[in-house]
């Protein structure tokens, strides 16, 4: 088949309407033809839009609940934006004991706890929104930073390819210790932490902190980590990090 013949198959390929032999031949051609790859990408977007031509139909009420159950989602679990750690079995036992204690102290205590949790969540969300706004790019990429096993704290990096800016939002670190600071690092693509570029330092561990990147690189493939360093910061990171991008 000529290129013109194969190009005519792009629509059928996107629609999933090719016969197996035609599909096989078109796939092979697609791997080597940038023109057809571009055509397929365009037509796939059209395919997505075609779905909106179908008159609206509300999904059954139980579908969301079924989906949530399938992935182990509970209404209390709100992932990144709630900054809630996943609990292991020992932690669950402790949580159970804590729950009994809460019951003994009565509903008012429980309400206070929930109010605090809600306030913390609001702070984190406000920081995330502010960070995206500061970057001037609502489509900024988000990366999650987590501690090593047994560690505490969490972080979210938001980086903008469009503006070249980035910020780290960090929460729950225990404090760097006397004479020490936290320091942000950019690990180049390839993942060698010894080659990491040094970023800003900070001390505060209270509440949520937002650390601007300054000159730190933001290109795709760069990852980020936080270490504890001597006051004033370092040019080489002291490993292992207290927070790093989750694999």
């Amino acid at each position: 088949m000529t290129h013109a013949d194969l190009e005519q198959l792009a629509a059928g390929y996107v629609l999933g309407a090719l016969e197996p032999d035609d599909e096989h031949e078109f796939r092979r051609h697609l791997d080597a033809c940038l023109l057809c790859a571009s055509e397929v990408a365009d037509l796939e977007a059209v395919l997505g839009e075609l779905a909106f031509a179908v008159p609206a139909a509300a999904p059954p009420r139980g579908l969301r609940a079924t989906l949530r159950r399938s992935i182990g989602f509970s209404p209390r679990q709100r992932g990144l934006l709630a900054f809630q750690p996943r609990l292991g079995r020992p932690a669950l036992a402790v949580a159970g004991a804590l729950l009994v204690t809460l019951v003994l102290f009565g509903l008012s205590f429980a309400n206070m706890s929930l109010r605090n949790q809600s306030a913390i969540e609001e702070n984190q969300l406000a920081e995330l929104r502010a960070a995206l706004s500061q970057l001037g790019d609502p489509a900024a990429r988000l990366l999650r930073l987590a501690p090593p096993p047994g560690g505490t704290g969490r972080g979210t990096v938001a980086v903008s390819d469009a503006t070249g800016k980035g910020v780290l939002i960090v929460e729950g670190l225990p404090g760097p210790g006397p004479g020490q600071v936290y320091q942000l690092w950019a690990v180049p693509p390839g993942g060698d932490p010894d080659q990491a570029a040094p970023g800003r330092v900070w001390i505060s561990s209270a509440g949520v902190a937002t650390i601007r990147f300054g000159d730190l690189p933001v290109q795709a493939g760069t990852t980020y980590m936080v270490t504890v360093e001597p006051r004033g910061g370092s040019v080489r990171p002291a490993l292992p990090p207290v927070l790093s991008v989750t694999p």
């Binding site: 190009e7 059928g12 395919l47």
Partner: protein, 233 residues
């Protein structure tokens, strides 16, 4: 101004609030925060096993996915199962999602169409392996007619996209729209379509290609004419 379906407001605060009331308020706040994120950000969070982000994508695409699957399969239960499976596939593979090859919305809706078309093919093969044009039970031109049992779409973004694609479909020649309907909503392969409409296969291939390109060009024309303050994901 963007009109989206807001979750019900929390009840006015009482002197002593209940724990469930606090939890509901926090849930509403979290849902609003996710809603502020774009699709690409949500899928990045899904890759991090963030169930709330998947929930937010369900809010965005669950209804059009279900509507599409229901139209193709003509079965609410099968359609709901299919939509769940597509989301579970995203949950399992979001880390490998390549945003440079298309948006997550396109991925979800295209996956829904492909799976539903595949299911229809299997069902038809079981029911009538030797079917011919007489086995064609549903006129695909009726697929786009409003279903009066369903409420009108109250989401402005979805309503605008629906109006745009319907107008683009209206611009197509009737014959091209017919070919597209058979493949997209009927799940027929190009060879089956050729047999159904009594045209040679190359003519069907050319017609479908022209239809899809015609839609693409019409969408782009309307996108360029869209007011600047309109948002898109």
């Amino acid at each position: 101004v963007r009109l989206v379906r807001e979750p019900s407001s929390p009840r006015p605060a009482r002197r002593t609030t209940t724990s469930s009331g606090e939890g509901a308020t926090a849930r509403v706040r979290a849902a609003r925060a996710y809603r502020a994120l774009q699709d690409g950000q949500l899928v990045a969070l899904v890759a991090e096993r963030d169930a709330g982000a998947l929930d937010a994508l369900y809010d965005r695409y669950g209804a059009p996915m279900f509507a599409l699957a229901r139209r193709i399969l003509s079965d609410d239960t099968l359609a709901a199962t299919l939509v769940k499976d597509v989301f579970l596939a995203l949950w399992a593979s979001a880390g490998r999602f390549d945003a440079t090859r298309g948006t997550v919305g396109t991925y979800l809706l295209a996956s829904t169409q492909h799976r539903a078309a595949e299911a229809v093919r299997e069902r038809m093969d079981r029911r009538a392996p030797d079917r011919d044009a007489a086995g064609f039970e549903v006129d695909p031109r009726t697929y786009l007619e409003p279903d009066l049992r369903q409420p009108a779409d109250r989401d402005l973004d979805r309503a605008q996209r629906a109006a745009r694609i319907r107008a683009a479909l209206d611009d197509l020649p009737e014959s091209q729209r017919h070919l597209l309907g058979l493949a997209y909503f009927g799940g027929y392969t190009q060879r089956e379509v050729a047999a159904l409409v009594g045209e040679p296969l190359p003519a069907v291939q050319t017609g479908m290609a022209a239809a899809m390109r015609g839609l693409r060009d019409a969408i782009m024309r309307r996108e360029r004419a869209r007011p600047r303050n309109s948002t898109s994901r």
